[in-house]
């Protein structure tokens, strides 16, 4: 008999041995119904159910109190005049037009910078980099960067963009700092989206003589796009809400001039909230202005998150 055939026979025998072992195990015990035990488990389950729902209620109550207070404080202050006026020392004349513009300018830098750098990095790491220790080391560290506190990115921005490149506390410095802050999140989200593209789609493309870049551009990226967008939008909403890096950069307290180039100083929505809150001791109405600004900021974030959810649902798993 040939070696090959022997090998087959041997494999076959091992299979049957496994089966007999299992039969023995089944014979060695019997499942008995223990009513007391089942009763206890059912009661434990019910108890836990209430505990879990209580936790949810707690979070909802805190959120409701927050929203209620902000709502009450901003009532009467949030109007068209507030949205379209610039800063003023007089609370009833002050508005957040400059802060809105500042946030928009900030995003005009953050969005292209992070998307281009982030998606390129993800493509490199997932598609081109040789799989190995170095690639894994880089990936782990990018994930780690995503959880570094924003103050530290602020300090980095201050040192590199503010001081070294002499950009001061301009829109450009703020935008680049914010880009650094959210870049790891965009990279990780894009990596996940690219990794989720099934290999059989790439194979189909390679099988027709497509090169790697063509395959990435025509197959991988279109399929990964919803995932990349969802992750990126969530990252952007973080950039819009972050305060600490801008504080560290030294965004000035009072800007009465509307910025008209990226080299100008600026203020942004979260910064405005921060400074108005600080100054409530002197001018109590500033608390109302801060509350009104929070409503605007929350509305923007709410819209962004909704868009992300809509994209995610619309393009949910097709494979």
């Amino acid at each position: 008999m040939s070696a090959a055939k022997l090998e087959f026979l041997r494999e076959g025998r091992e299979d049957t041995m496994l089966e007999t072992d299992q039969t023995h195990a089944f014979e060695r015990y019997k499942v008995k119904i223990d009513s007391g035990r089942i009763e206890r488990r059912v009661r434990l389950n019910n108890g836990l159910k209430h505990l879990f729902s209580l936790s949810t209620v707690f979070a909802l109550v805190v959120l409701a109190i927050l929203l209620y207070r902000i709502g009450v404080q901003s009532a009467g202050w949030l109007d068209l005049q507030f949205l379209t006026s610039n800063l003023s020392r007089f609370a009833d004349k002050a508005g957040i037009y400059g802060a809105i513009l500042g946030t928009v300018y900030l995003m005009l830098i953050v969005v292209p910078v992070t998307l281009i750098l982030g998606v390129s990095t993800a493509i490199y790491l997932e598609e081109y980099a040789a799989k190995g220790r170095i690639q894994r080391f880089i990936k782990v560290n990018i994930s780690n960067l995503a959880s570094v506190p924003s103050v530290i990115f602020g300090l980095l921005g201050l040192a590199v963009f503010g001081r070294m490149l002499n950009l001061g506390s301009s829109i450009l410095a703020g935008g680049l700092t914010m880009s650094l802050l959210v870049l790891p999140t965009v990279v990780v989200a894009s990596q996940e989206a690219i990794k989720a593209v099934p290999g059989f789609l790439r194979e189909a493309s390679y099988g027709m003589g497509a090169d790697k870049w063509t395959t990435i551009r025509k197959v991988v990226l279109p399929v990964a796009l919803p995932g990349i967008l969802t992750g990126s939008i969530l990252a952007m909403s973080r950039a819009i809400g972050e305060t600490a890096p801008l504080v560290v950069l030294g965004i000035p307290t009072l800007i009465l001039k509307i910025p008209d180039s990226v080299m100008d100083d600026f203020t942004a929505l979260p910064i405005q909230i921060y400074y108005w809150t600080l100054d409530t001791v002197l001018t109590p109405e500033y608390a109302n202005l801060a509350a009104a600004t929070i409503v605007v900021l929350l509305a923007v974030l709410f819209i962004l998150n909704s868009v992300a959810i809509i994209i995610r649902n619309k393009f949910q798993k097709r494979f």
Partner: protein, 259 residues
Amino acid sequence: MNIQNPEIENNVFDVRGLNLWYGNDQALKNINMQIEKNKITAIIGPSGCGKSTFIKTLNRMIENVPIVRTTGEILYHGNDIFDKSMRVEELRTKVGMVFQKPNPFPKSIFENVVYGPKIHGIKDKKLLMEIAEASLKSAALWDEVKDRLNDNAYGLSGGQQQRLCIARCIAVQPDVILMDEPTSALDPIATLKVEELMDSLKQEYTIAIVTHSMQQAARISDKTAFFLMGDLIEYDKTEAIFSNPRDKRTEDYITGRFG
């Protein structure tokens, strides 16, 4: 190229002393085999014997597995496919592939078929439409989809998806079509359709098909190769393999004694 033996002219592939390893595990052992023009060559053998590995080596798709190492040569019309001057993109344009699981792109039926022509530089809309129609007709799918070319390919049945993949492959105008168990995910009726299709395709193309079904090999192929644990045990005309196998192991396999 100098061709002494007229038979060589008929060989699309000439595999010489091919060995292949996944890391340290040898999956193909000294394979010598010719694949003839305008014939259907079936590759049979028990699961894990290296059928997919072999067929994916013919268009170098196997190189997508980073740990793969090969020795020996595979001549495609006389040119070694492992030669440095051979671009895999060129090889795969001439040697198309249909996979085990239908793998259309999540795009419209039309966009699926014209993917290949488009990436190879054809832009003319009218020409692309003609290519799509001709390819879908060759794949016996045209009548079923002609009214919904812009619908997503994922709305098709499994059998239709597989024929779409064959149409997509044909649209590149390959010379050889490699098929790795193309009907194993299909129901019997869809399988029959794909088999009929293969028979009509061999007028124009050379087909190599991996199948785990001996009946399928017997029904459709001109030549059959029997693999066992990385060895090519026997390779002959299909009638000869099934009626009069020379090797005891081939006989055991086709009579269902193992595998």
